[in-house]
């Protein structure tokens, strides 16, 4: 990439621009213009355009739906909701601590005022910070296409870097997070060099305890260690059925390294990522357990 030869001051006038009012209008436009790029916050799309990585002929602006609602089956967040809005939601802070912690470390406050939850998910970066917490919380996403809507579990949504199950004429409209059961704790930990950086490795943990403080359900998800954000189900299973002891904690956290497939890139080596995975896994599991006990 010849970043220095690219003019990042302007956007070339090489696209047609649409600003549909409703998700249905958006779907109709997407059906018509198959190669259209969707513009939500612009914090990824414009950077890629300025760097010459993509040159969309059509840009479709999506400003809605933007909402956070509590319903009987859990929380529903509109895909175009700004990250900053979610970060400031009292309900999210109280009930989905890992999601709050993940959003807090994304970019800068300016970026979070612009970027949207749907954008972070649909960009499908292996390092997307909102993905691990949403995965452990069992989130699902609502997708609108020309033929109506469908719902997909987030764990089935990502196919590879930048690739998702969305067809070219579909758009993500909503994220649904089930209400956590009582005595549930979540945590999120990310390692990166400087605060504006993308994660070298990130992890989210969800633990649910029964009345004897035994772990009745456990989920672990990681970012930046595979072509997509992934779940470490075998490691999570090692935690189930017992109280958290030093032994189960070590077993589960060490098993995480066997479930990830990191690569060596500009942010870290595969060896380092494997090595450090058990450290952040241990910390994240302990933290989630402490929070579950306190809840």
């Amino acid at each position: 990439m010849y970043t220095n030869q690219i003019n990042t001051r302007i956007l070339y006038p090489s696209f047609e621009y649409f600003e549909p009012k409703t998700p249905e209008e958006t779907a109709a436009l997407l059906a018509k213009y198959k190669d259209a790029a969707i513009l939500a916050g612009g914090t990824d799309l414009f950077i890629k355009m300025k760097q010459g990585l993509i040159e969309p002929k059509v840009i479709i602006r999506v400003k809605q739906p933007s909402f956070i609602e509590e319903r009987p089956d859990g929380f529903h967040i509109g895909a175009a909701t700004k990250l900053r809005t979610i970060e400031k939601s009292e309900a999210v802070i109280a009930k989905f601590q890992a999601l709050f912690e993940a959003i807090r470390v994304i970019g800068s406050v300016q970026i979070r005022h612009m970027a949207t939850l749907g954008g972070n998910i649909c960009n499908a970066s292996p390092a997307a910070d909102t993905a691990p917490p949403l995965l452990v919380m069992g989130a699902e996403v609502k997708i609108l296409g020309a033929n109506g809507t469908r719902t997909v579990a987030l764990k089935d949504f990502f196919l590879g870097p930048g690739k998702t199950v969305l067809s070219k004429s579909e758009i993500l409209t909503e994220v649904h997070i089930p209400t956590p059961r009582p005595h549930t704790g979540t945590s999120f930990i990310r390692l990166s060099r400087a605060s504006m950086d993308i994660a070298k490795i990130s992890i989210a943990v969800m633990l649910q305890l029964d009345t004897n403080k035994r772990i009745s359900d456990a989920r672990i998800a990681l970012g930046s260690v595979a072509p997509t954000p992934i779940m470490a189900n075998k490691s999570a299973d090692l935690l189930k059925g017992n109280r958290l002891t030093r032994e189960t904690l070590n077993q589960a956290s060490q098993s995480v390294a066997g479930e990830i497939r990191p690569i060596t890139d500009i942010r870290g080596t595969a060896e380092y990522r494997k090595e450090v995975s058990h450290v952040i896994a241990r910390d994240a599991i302990e933290l989630a357990n402490r929070r579950a006990e306190g809840s």
Binding site: I10, L11, Y17, G42, T43, I47, G107, S108, V109, M196
Partner: protein, 150 residues
Amino acid sequence: MRRKLDVEPNELLMNCIRDKLHLTGTKYVCGIGECGACTVLLDGEPVLSCLTLALDADGKDVVTIEGISKGYELDRVQQAFVDEGAVQCGYCIPGLIMTTESLLQENPTPTESDVRDYLRGNLCRCTGYMNIIKAICRAASEPRRKASSE
């Protein structure tokens, strides 16, 4: 001040402010959302004008560095930057000050760590962070003056 402008869909807010309104206080540095030098307040919220379309400002209140002083009377944040010697080459300062305005709006009594966290998207390549942080903490402790709006 209300302004009516014709803008193209590809026109960025930063270029509209600098080239059409000739308000050159808002700076272009990285152009890819890393440095915060182009920060302006859009309806009170800090955004990066290098990644914001000008048409997104339609009907909204845009405050740039030019809009926070009252003529030659500096705003308390600007004054604190002067008093603490927080300015070296100065290129990052408009962005830093706009982000600080937003911080103090949200949290009038930030701790030093609140300041460092909130300002982490504003880079100073002279690396003069110590005095910048001091200036922001000082501004927070000064009584608020009413800022003029553009």
